[in-house]
């Protein structure tokens, strides 16, 4: 048996830590094992069966210590039973496997066992200071003079009697609150507190074998705010693919928080997992999978879209039109491409286009663009679009085009795609529309 005890800091007057904090840590711990119990100020869990899944004892311990410290855990201890782990954590000894458990426990002050508490003064008058002293007293005498809990607790701590626990049940919905240590005035600074909540959420998601596609961070302004400011605000973050990757969610949240402006200092945070879906995990393989080494492209583009705005991370879609402006359109990346693919035209087409054609000046009826243009091939007539109405009502026009396209060569500007259009009263004008780059 491999028990871990995680101790949360006590309140200022020696009171137990708030229930929410304990529940938060317990929820997070559920990702390691279903056998999690809360006892006074400690969260206890048994991980013997999970050691291999998390990459060995050393890796598991490092992860628990690192993430636990983020959650505000004060001290850790590992031992063969829960009571011993709890006692060692209180005494500040982390490793309960360094020496035989009896030796370790004998040296601890007797106060580390809660069952000693009611009889502390009597025992100290008897000359006991350590657990070893208490254990060496005659058993018959202890059970007669003190209550049965003391002897039972000592037996359980030394592993002579089995433990009994009430396991923590996993909540069906994730909702966690956090009171910030100090008032926060800048939105990005909320991330520190939000990370703690995210850590709990990722633990809860891992325990449920799911990922989230949307989660909400709510904040409450503190009571000293001015009157016109509301109670607080909230921010919902959506992801394209379900995820419980802490770093990814944290960076996504950071991008969104960077844009938020707080109206008043914030005192409390709350996080809710709004949409949770089952996540299919990649199986652990003996041979490392090379393609999965980095972050997937989808995740990066999502983060870029979070900063720049989704309308600026685009993918092209071909449309069935022969006019250059409507040959393709651009849509945000997460949107799926249409199922019916359009065959691309096999005519020569420029590789860059100008969003609005540029009118060129002319000399002797020949277009100029960084010098005289030499028309190479053409004309390529593009005509049509009377069916395509732009705008509504009075100002409606049709996107009708009647153009002769030419491939033009400039000695400085490269190979260009220019067109000649007939204007009113037999005038013509030349436009630059694309570049063959």
């Amino acid at each position: 048996m491999l028990w871990a005890a995680l101790l949360l800091p006590l309140g200022s007057a020696g009171t137990l830590p708030p229930d929410e904090a304990l529940r938060g840590v317990a929820t997070w711990a559920l990702q390691f094992t279903p056998r999690v119990a809360v006892s006074e100020e400690a969260v206890l869990f048994e991980v013997e069966a999970s050691v291999r899944l998390f990459g060995g004892k050393r890796a598991l311990r490092d992860r628990v210590v690192q993430e636990g410290a983020d959650l505000g855990v004060k001290s850790f201890a590992w031992a063969t039973n829960s009571l011993a782990a709890h006692a060692l954590a209180r005494a500040g000894i982390e490793n309960g496997f360094k020496r035989p458990l009896d030796d370790l426990l004998d040296g601890l002050p007797m106060g580390v066992l809660s069952a000693v508490g009611p009889h502390h003064s009597t025992l100290s008058k008897l000359g006991c200071r350590t657990l070893g002293d208490v254990r060496r007293l005659p058993r018959g005498g202890i059970s007669r003079r003190f209550d049965k809990d003391l002897l039972g607790a000592i037996d359980r701590a030394y592993g002579l009697q089995p433990d009994g626990h009430t396991w923590v049940q996993m909540p069906d919905d994730f909702e966690a609150k956090l009171e910030l240590m100090s008032r926060v005035e800048m939105a990005p600074a909320l991330l520190f507190g939000a990370r703690r909540l995210l850590l709990q959420m990722c633990g809860w998601l891992a325990a449920r074998h799911s990922g989230t596609t949307a989660f909400t961070l709510k904040w409450a302004h503190d009571s000293m705010r001015s009157k016109e400011v509301g109670d607080g605000g909230e921010l919902t973050i959506r992801t394209a693919a379900p995820s419980r990757n802490l770093e990814h969610l944290c960076r996504l949240l950071a991008e969104h928080l960077a844009k938020v402006e707080l109206e008043a200092p914030v005192g409390d945070l709350q996080m809710v997992a709004t949409e949770v879906v089952a996540l299919n995990e990649r199986s652990e393989s003996l041979l490392p999978d090379e393609t999965q080494a980095g972050e997937s492209l989808q995740l990066v583009l999502e983060r870029i879209a979070a900063r720049l705005g989704p309308e600026r991370v685009l993918r092209p879609v071909l449309t069935d039109d022969h006019r250059l402006e409507w040959m393709q359109m651009w849509q945000p990346v997460p949107k799926p491409l249409p199922r019916k693919a359009i065959d691309p035209v096999d005519m020569p087409q420029p590789t860059w286009v100008l969003p609005i054609p540029l009118q060129l000046s002319t000399r002797n009826d020949r277009p100029l663009y960084q010098g005289l243009l030499h028309l190479l091939t053409g004309p390529h007539r593009v005509e049509g679009g009377w069916w395509h109405r732009l705008g509504e009502g009075e100002g409606a026009t049709t996107a009708h085009v009647q153009r002769d396209y030419w491939v033009a060569l400039s000695e400085h500007a490269g190979v260009l795609w220019v067109y000649q259009e007939r204007l009113a009263s037999d005038e013509t004008a030349w436009y630059l529309h694309g570049v063959f780059a």
């Binding site: 492209l297 005519m347 087409q349 969003p355 000695e411």
Partner: protein, 288 residues
Amino acid sequence: MSAVLSWAGDEDALPALGLTSTARSRTRRSQPGELPPEVEQALWRGCDFGSQGGTVVSSGFAALDAELPGGGWPCQALSEVLSPQQSVLEWRLIGPALRDVVSRGGNVVVVGPPKTPHLPGLHHTGIDEKHLVWVQAEAPAERLWCTEQLVKSGSCGAIVAWLPQARPEQIRRLQVCAQACDGLTFLFRPAAAQHESSAASLRVVATFGVDWEVRVHVVKRRGPAHDGLIHLRSFPGGLDSVLTPRLLVPSELIAARAPSRQRTHQGPVHALGGPAASSRLGRHATAG
């Protein structure tokens, strides 16, 4: 450096292997100035390229591949393309390499291009809608940030970024990130950046030639300095299917037109235009 070291190692190894008498006799028989094959093999010459650590993607031009260390555009490193003008030759130069990337299922991500990419034209270089992403980054800081995120993720087949205002320390940062990125990374920068230092492992200056050419000069590479220009013949956007033999050499066409214009039109405007045309002609003669 490593090549020199290995050569020194080989020298030590020769006595250990025990040169047989036949080998000695062969050494004696070789002509002065001609090295025995085992020495020839281990010898590193000043004109050889240094050892290229990572993989490369062929540029699609044999003449260019011959001048690039490893025989292509490097993965896990930055390739800087400097050109005097934007949006004149980008796809022509890197298109064949991108075709290779896309055919292997890699994505091409374009960061902050100077104009709108036109997919029907890019189809001719083998890029399709499933493998092209356009990131519209405008401000210099945005361009850098997006490029860095993409490079760090290492999940793109090719990253093509326009960074007109990047500073040397920012390029260095990208180069460090790129060492862990398996895809190609192209940075397009103005030709003026040629005089700044840069951490990119490959820098080329590309200019446009009238006769369907891209002229490339390698400014920096892992190897000896490069002299002269490489002339690469490329037809953009599927134009090769419509060009007549006469149009394959537009410089002759232009040259043929220029004097005729001078002869037929007499006027103040064309008196000015004449010398300009002839000076252009002269430049072509020297460039050719």
